[in-house]
């Protein structure tokens, strides 16, 4: 299964542990979409940070995605929902680690 599909599956299933496992030790996750709703961007570093950040977001229902469409091995569209505010987003894996994990994934408004 491609990493982008694993990413989408983890997001849809609200599984922070599965999400964290596809990122490398020095991975960076950046999501610029919240800026469209007047909030700061999301920046999470490393698998443990990604696990903890999204555990919080998923449990308190601050964040979820819906209607995902995988368009390539590195990109997927979806509606990202931040505290009920819907934004059409595109997630792009920009860099892989030598071990084939995600080293940098960026989400922007689509």
């Amino acid at each position: 299964m491609t990493l982008i599909r694993q990413y989408v599956n983890a997001m849809v299933n609200r599984d922070s542990v599965a999400l964290s496992k596809i990122f490398s030790e020095t991975a960076i996750f950046v999501d610029y979409c919240p800026k469209d709703s007047g909030r700061p961007l999301i920046h999470a570093y490393g698998p443990e940070g990604i696990d903890m950040f999204f555990r919080n977001q998923f449990l308190f229902r601050k964040f979820e995605i819906t209607d995902p469409q995988i368009v390539s091995d590195t990109q997927a569209y979806y509606y990202a929902i931040y505290n009920g505010y819907h934004i059409r987003a595109i997630a792009t894996i920009q860099e892989f680690s030598d071990d084939g994990e995600i080293k940098r994934l960026v989400v922007r408004p689509a």
């Binding site: 999470a44 443990e48 940070g49 919080n56 449990l59 308190f60």
Partner: protein
């Protein structure tokens, strides 16, 4: 050695603060509802006045530090108590003892909460609190508004709790420059989830909610912050070692705030 006043010093963070300060040889007065050097209900103006009068009688030459730690959680089921104790119990007492702090160029530390950065505060109520100054009539007005809220709703309780802690931190920031110009430093600590007798016996749902506020320094465990983690920072802030620190909101949460709000560097 100095003279320090600690509210809520009969247990938890306040208790550890008393313990550490005493172990350093300081004279410490614990102000609490019971089992204290001065027993008083800081949720009432009468209780605050009693403490202010007693401390003035005991230490007319001044005090070196005041640690305003007494408070209740959002789950206590009494919204008026949250407002009166958490906010007015700290602010009114600090104002009442300010002249004694000024005499010895002392410092004040107020206990807030790391939840202040998580967006649950009610800005309207926080504005009312900060606008109220220390006039009892304003406290009464706010309590009349609060009594219309649903105190059986835990999220309302949490929101009011966060509001009082946010307003406290903002009050500290607002007065800090003037107080420092008068020789008195004032700062606040913002603890994360701390282990208490209550958290030791909570149910699975409550534990899951706590786990959703991860403590990075305790990653991979269910451990909460320990009272001494917070107390050590309070003792530092109230000490002369923190001479250059004023108007600061210091998060003592093992990195939870940095995790959830990494873009807020100021």
């Amino acid at each position: 050695m100095g003279v320090y006043i600690v509210t809520g010093g009969s247990g938890g963070i306040g208790g550890k603060t008393v313990e550490i300060l005493r172990s350093q040889g300081h004279e410490v007065i614990n102000v609490d509802l019971k089992d204290a050097d001065i027993c008083a209900n800081l949720a009432t103006q009468e209780g605050r006045d009693h403490v202010i009068k007693t401390v003035h009688e005991m230490y007319p030459d001044g005090i070196d530090g005041l640690c305003c730690n007494a408070g209740v959680s959002g789950a206590c089921g009494n919204l008026k108590l949250i407002i009166s104790l958490n906010y007015f119990g700290a602010v009114n007492l600090a104002h009442g003892l300010f002249d004694l702090l000024r005499k010895k160029k002392g410092s004040c530390v107020v206990t807030s909460s790391n939840t202040i950065s998580q967006g649950a505060a009610r800005p309207d109520i926080a504005d009312m609190l900060n606008y109220s100054q220390t006039k009892p009539i304003n406290e009464e007005r706010i309590l009349k508004i609060i009594e219309k809220f649903d105190d059986s709703n835990l999220s309302v309780g949490n929101s009011i709790y966060v509001t009082t802690k946010y307003a406290l931190a903002r009050w500290v920031r607002r007065v800090s420059a003037s107080w420092a110009a008068n020789g008195v430093r004032i700062n606040t600590v913002a603890p994360g989830n701390v282990s208490t007798p209550m958290t030791a016996t909570m149910g699975d749902n409550a534990k899951a909610a706590l786990a959703a506020l991860p403590i990075p320094t305790n990653y991979g465990t269910d451990d909460l912050m320990q009272p001494e983690d917070i107390a050590n920072v309070i003792v530092f802030l109230v000490s002369p070692l923190a001479h250059g620190v004023n108007g600061n909101v210091m998060f003592v949460d093992g990195g939870t705030d940095a995790l959830l709000n990494s873009e807020k560097v100021y």
